[in-house]
């Protein structure tokens, strides 16, 4: 009984210790083997800690083995790479954020084209350009948020407070009313068109029934004669027009009686003077009629 107690307690404690060790290692590393070490160096403030993943071209190939704080503003970081992976020479290391919870990973970026040589255990991987951490991203988001707030404030002022929104509403209402009216007009036009088409069909039906070739022939002949007369009339009008143009050209050139009449201002001046003299003469006659009209009967 006593021995059984000891065995059962021993089994329980052993199992618990194994679960504890393996579970902790698995949670910290993602796997149980340690892998070979590589070293790199980052500036302070990277939120790095033991157990964070190491990615090679986006693939998880290891974990952060150790982080040592230096006094000169840098962190010495030992990363452990799984034995099955090799890191190409010339690869650079950077700390990049993973997910939205502020966790980070060490990202190894191989050069393109990928060289055949690889880092040996214990080599140092040079740090590459740092990726934006979650703080920087949040700060950019904050900036965008502030800009959006300003924009929304401006829109509020311009659209809501300045009455633009009301105007837009009115315009939309007017457009709606106009649309209704247009629909009515279109409906009416549609109805008229339908009636016209019906009349046209009706007339076409009549025409087809009245298809008398003699009448049509005489009508066409009359139309031709009318057309010929029209053409002749147009020709006469054309020649008349030409003559009138010539006449006008002559008149504008100032030659001839009409030309001089139109272009020479002397006639106007003389006529004007004559009219004034006539006015003064008429006025004088009205004032002194006896001077000019002397009627003697006897």
């Amino acid at each position: 009984m006593k021995r059984r107690n000891e065995v059962s307690v021993g089994i329980l404690i052993t199992v618990a210790v194994v679960v504890l060790v393996l579970g902790t290692l698995w949670l910290a590393r993602g796997k149980l083997k340690a892998g070979y070490p590589l070293y790199t160096r980052f500036a302070w403030g990277q939120n790095l800690k033991q157990g964070q993943p190491v990615l090679l071209a986006g693939v998880s190939v290891g974990y952060v083995g150790d982080v040592n704080l230096r006094r000169d503003g840098f962190l010495d970081v030992m990363i452990r790479i799984d034995d099955q992976y090799t890191v190409p020479k010339g690869s650079t290391a950077a700390v990049k954020p993973v997910g939205i919870f502020g966790d980070v990973a060490v990202a190894l970026t191989p050069p393109i084209p990928v060289p055949a040589a690889s880092y040996s255990p214990g080599d140092t991987v040079p740090p590459g350009p740092a990726a934006s951490d979650i703080g920087q991203i949040m700060s950019r988001v904050d900036t965008i948020g502030v800009a959006l707030t300003v924009l929304m404030h401006s829109l509020q002022q311009q659209i809501v407070e300045a009455g633009t929104l009301k105007d837009i509403n009115k315009t939309v209402a007017s457009t709606a009313a106009l649309s209704v009216q247009l629909q009515k007009v279109l409906a009416q036009q549609n109805e008229n068109l339908t009636q016209t088409m019906a009349s046209f069909r009706n007339a076409a039906g009549h025409l087809s029934t009245l298809a008398d070739s003699a009448q049509i022939d005489s009508t066409i002949k009359n139309l031709r004669k009318t057309s010929e007369n029209g053409a002749r009339l147009v020709a006469n009008l054309d020649s008349t027009n030409t003559e009138i143009r010539k006449l006008l050209t002559l008149a504008q050139s100032g030659n001839g009686t009409i030309g001089k009449f139109l272009t020479d201002s002397t006639l106007y001046t003389d006529t004007h003077r004559l009219l004034r003299q006539i006015d003064s003469l008429v006025a004088d006659i009205k004032a002194n009629p006896k001077k000019y009209i002397n009627v003697r009967i006897f």
Binding site: G23, T24, L27, G30
Partner: protein, 282 residues
């Protein structure tokens, strides 16, 4: 020296009503504080006796193994069942409360943090308070009221070394052991429920499970378990050790032990979170 007696020598009943009431109130408060300090002092003596009894391993080692079996091995089924249900429920509730757009890996993270840091040790402690602590008080209390403890003393056995120390050591060692299994079972249950019942993929869950993990989280969990084990064994053994007044006293001691231990565990949990919680952020 003749003359009237000073006022403090008078009977309480002889004082006016207002003064009499104040005197009784003051006396009650004083007794409460005196009782509290007395309890602290008596328990300190009890702890001192345990420490002194540690120097007699021949008396307590064999019994310790038996108590480890009682406390540890026999408690495995209930601890694992509780942990499995808690892990599964945590995973389900976390998944159902998530709003769209949140990464599903948070379920693994939340399960790990809740199971390992809080519910694993706490629920194991509370469950063992009922199962182990009650039994401890009842056993020792019965031995007290049936004068078996007195008989041990008569036989020159140190009852503390024979009865208390094994339970104290066994609870202190086995609680962390049970918490390790409870944590593992809870996480396994959370993983199974998440992957089988919800739309969480194994990769999502494992990513969250490993996110921001530090070994101190495990140390924190085991430290709490160890403190809970100590609290259970000390409080329950003491309450059994001072049991009086027959079978009724045993029942009363058992009930009081369970209540005091449960409260102690919750207070210790809060204190641990307040004192050691900041270290979890590193």
């Amino acid at each position: 020296m003749s003359g009237p007696l000073p006022q403090f020598g008078r009977e309480t009943q002889q004082f006016p009503v207002v003064q009499r009431t104040s005197i009784r109130f003051f006396r009650r408060v004083t007794r409460w504080w005196v009782g509290l300090f007395r309890d602290v002092g008596v328990r300190s003596y009890f702890v001192r006796d345990i420490a002194r009894a540690m120097g007699d391993p021949a008396t307590y080692v064999p019994e310790t193994i038996r108590q480890m079996k009682n406390i540890g091995v026999d408690s495995i089924p209930i601890v694992l069942v509780v942990a499995a249900f808690i892990g599964g429920v945590i995973a389900l509730q976390t998944r159902y409360q998530l709003f769209p757009g949140v990464e599903l890996s948070i379920i693994g993270l939340a399960s790990r943090l809740m199971v390992v840091l809080e519910l694993g040790p706490l629920l194991t402690g509370l469950v063992l308070t009922g199962r182990v602590g009650g039994r401890m008080t009842a056993e020792i209390g019965t031995m007290r009221v049936t004068e078996q403890i007195d008989a041990l003393e008569t036989l020159a056995y140190d009852p503390v070394a024979f009865l208390i120390v094994p339970r104290f050591l066994a609870a202190t060692v086995m609680l962390p052991v049970l918490v390790i299994l409870a944590d593992a079972t809870g996480l396994l249950s959370a993983y199974t429920v998440s992957v089988r019942i919800t739309d969480v993929t194994p990769q999502d869950f494992i990513t969250g499970l490993r996110l921001g993990f530090g070994t101190f989280q495990v140390v924190y969990s085991l430290l709490k378990a160890m403190m809970f084990g100590m609290a259970i064994s000390l409080v329950c053994s003491y309450e059994g050790y001072i049991t009086e007044a027959g079978a009724e006293g045993v029942g009363r001691s058992t009930a009081r032990a369970v209540v005091i231990t449960s409260m102690t565990i919750l207070v210790l949990d809060a204190l641990t979170a307040g004192v050691l919680g900041p270290l979890l952020q590193t």
